[in-house]
Amino acid sequence: MSALAQPTGSPAAWPDTYGDEAKPRMGFFTDTSVCIGCKACEVACKEWNLIPEDGRLWTGESYDNTSELGANTWRHVAFVEQRKPLKLDGGGETAELDAEPLRWLMESDVCKHCTHAGCLDVCPTGSLFRTEYGTVVVQEDICNGCGYCVPACPFGVLDKRHLPRKADDAPLSLPLLGKKEDGRVWKCTLCYDRLKGGHEPACAKACPTDSIQFGPLDELRERADQRLEKLRAERWNGAQLYGRDPDDGVGGFGAFFLLLDEPEVYGLPPDPVVPTAHVAEMWRNTAIAAAAMLVGVAAAFVGGRS
């Protein structure tokens, strides 16, 4: 149990458990500085993964009508319109010459495939598991829709699917207990099926600007460091890596980002920590509380029968 609390740079019990089948850890580097907000990633993800349509809504929030990651949105492009210069002074951009600078930030958000994944840790059925690629996937034939992973995720990635069950879903073994809605949780699988076939994930494949880069995590981190160095030399305003550091509260992301402003601007937590980092301390505390309860009930018997 103590090992769980260690924020190491590699996932617990991975890749050893895979033996000869272990693969290098694969991930995404999403470089928002070249995102053009085309949403090809959102569409390719929906198409490939057969994600159902969940209604269309006009939000009025720039070009964003999907709003957040969820059961039916596994790539989400955020749009932020800002009165801030794209580059700091000396960058030579026209924007800085404007009296009222304007920049339009776009970021394709996705499941972070955390090194220490809260969703996986709390899943009581073993439905959520770590693949041989080090990614985190929900086995939909196991998930019983308990919903624990939903509030466990520090990023609000997972959600329960409330759409109706599909006709080709497995028949109910116990029809009496059945519900009409899908009822399971869903999230990005980093296209586990495509990886198995030697292909890159659908979103990365469809991205026309290479904002979404797929590859071995080690290589992506190197590439991201170089990119950040370049942007800083060019004096881009607010350029920073998010989730690249293996020493952060979730042990680093398997899918990390280059952002152009603070994480919360994009709806991301500035300092995420996996809730199970405190699990040993929580169980100790629970054990003491449970013992105290025994003592408390015993104490009620002092003073006799009536």
Binding site: G126, A300, R305
Partner: protein
């Protein structure tokens, strides 16, 4: 909280950026079954303990009725849990694995042990058969009781919901105390006054502890804990204080003399403990809905680290 056109919101007097004021962590998908389960699971666990001590001191009426109350609550609990699942027909998937990082996994096994033991003991008690088996089952039920009554606090603490995770020190204690109070109150209703002394004292004492712990928790939470003053969490909190306080006072003043007062007082305490579970439950939703509760403490943590 005031929203600005650029997506920033004003938090505790400082400007904080957000993505159109949208939540960062997801609201839980748990339905009303869950706070009621917290109540019934607690009632079952604490009744098992109360039963064991009543048996030890030879208070037969108290022992018999707390056994039956606990067994009944141990039947209601799992029904509520299965009903909440998105795929109830897969409820048994809870027993595919045992994971210490998942309080829901641990709790499922504890509930299985507790429910089997208390209902075995209750059935044998009613049939008047197999005394040694009954005694063994009672012993197991008493041992499973305190974990059953406290783990639910840790279950919600092991999430990324700020008002729950930051209260991880108090929640198992609060839920344990609430459970003890419920068991005492239920027994005070069910048992004639001249044999209900321990039950009454437990209800009164644990009620005082519960109310005190909730205050301590809210104060220590500070900014994050302000949700307990607002909306549903606030309303349920006030109902809880009123009912638990009045019920405990009634039990203390007239519960020893009048069965009617014991029934009224016990019922008020039970209502108060249900309301307490609802207050904590809804506080989690409110905490998830407002990104300030995620961002502000994380920013402070980051700043403190330097």
């Amino acid at each position: 909280m005031s929203h600005h056109h650029d997506g920033s919101i004003t938090a505790v007097g400082t400007q904080m950026d957000s993505y159109y004021g949208r939540p960062i962590v997801k609201e839980p998908v748990w339905q009303p079954e869950i706070p009621f389960y917290f109540f019934f699971g607690g009632l079952a666990g604490a009744s098992g303990v109360l039963h064991a001590f009543a048996g030890l001191v030879g208070n037969k009426t108290l022992a018999r009725r707390t056994l039956l109350i606990g067994a009944a609550a141990d039947i209601v609990g799992p029904i509520l849990l299965v009903s909440d699942l998105g795929r109830p027909e897969r409820a048994l998937n809870m027993f595919r694995v045992f994971k210490v990082t998942s309080p829901m996994s641990v709790g499922s096994w504890v509930l299985l042990v507790s429910g089997s033991a208390s209902n075995t003991a209750a059935a044998l008690e009613l049939m008047g058969k197999l005394k040694p088996v009954k005694v063994a089952a009672e012993f197991v039920s008493a041992l499973a009781g305190p974990p059953l009554a406290t783990y639910t606090g840790t279950l919600i603490a092991d999430t990324s919901i700020p008002v729950w995770h930051e209260a991880r020190h108090e929640l198992p204690w609060l839920f344990g105390a609430s459970a003890a109070s419920s068991a005492g109150a239920a027994a005070a209703i069910a048992v004639p006054v001249d044999e209900a002394g321990p039950a009454r004292r437990l209800a009164i004492g644990a009620s005082v502890v519960t109310l005190g712990l909730k205050e301590v928790m809210q104060r220590r939470l500070g900014f994050v804990g302000e949700v307990y003053e607002k909306e549903e969490a606030g309303s349920y909190g006030r109902i809880s204080k009123l009912c638990t306080g009045a019920g405990a006072a009634l039990l203390a003043l007239a519960g020893k003399r009048s069965r009617a007062a014991a029934v009224a007082g016990g019922s008020l305490v039970l209502a108060g403990e249900v309301a307490l579970r609802w207050s904590v439950f809804r506080a989690g939703f409110q905490s998830a809905r407002d990104p300030r509760y995620v961002v502000v403490p994380q920013r402070e943590r980051k700043a403190a680290r330097g």
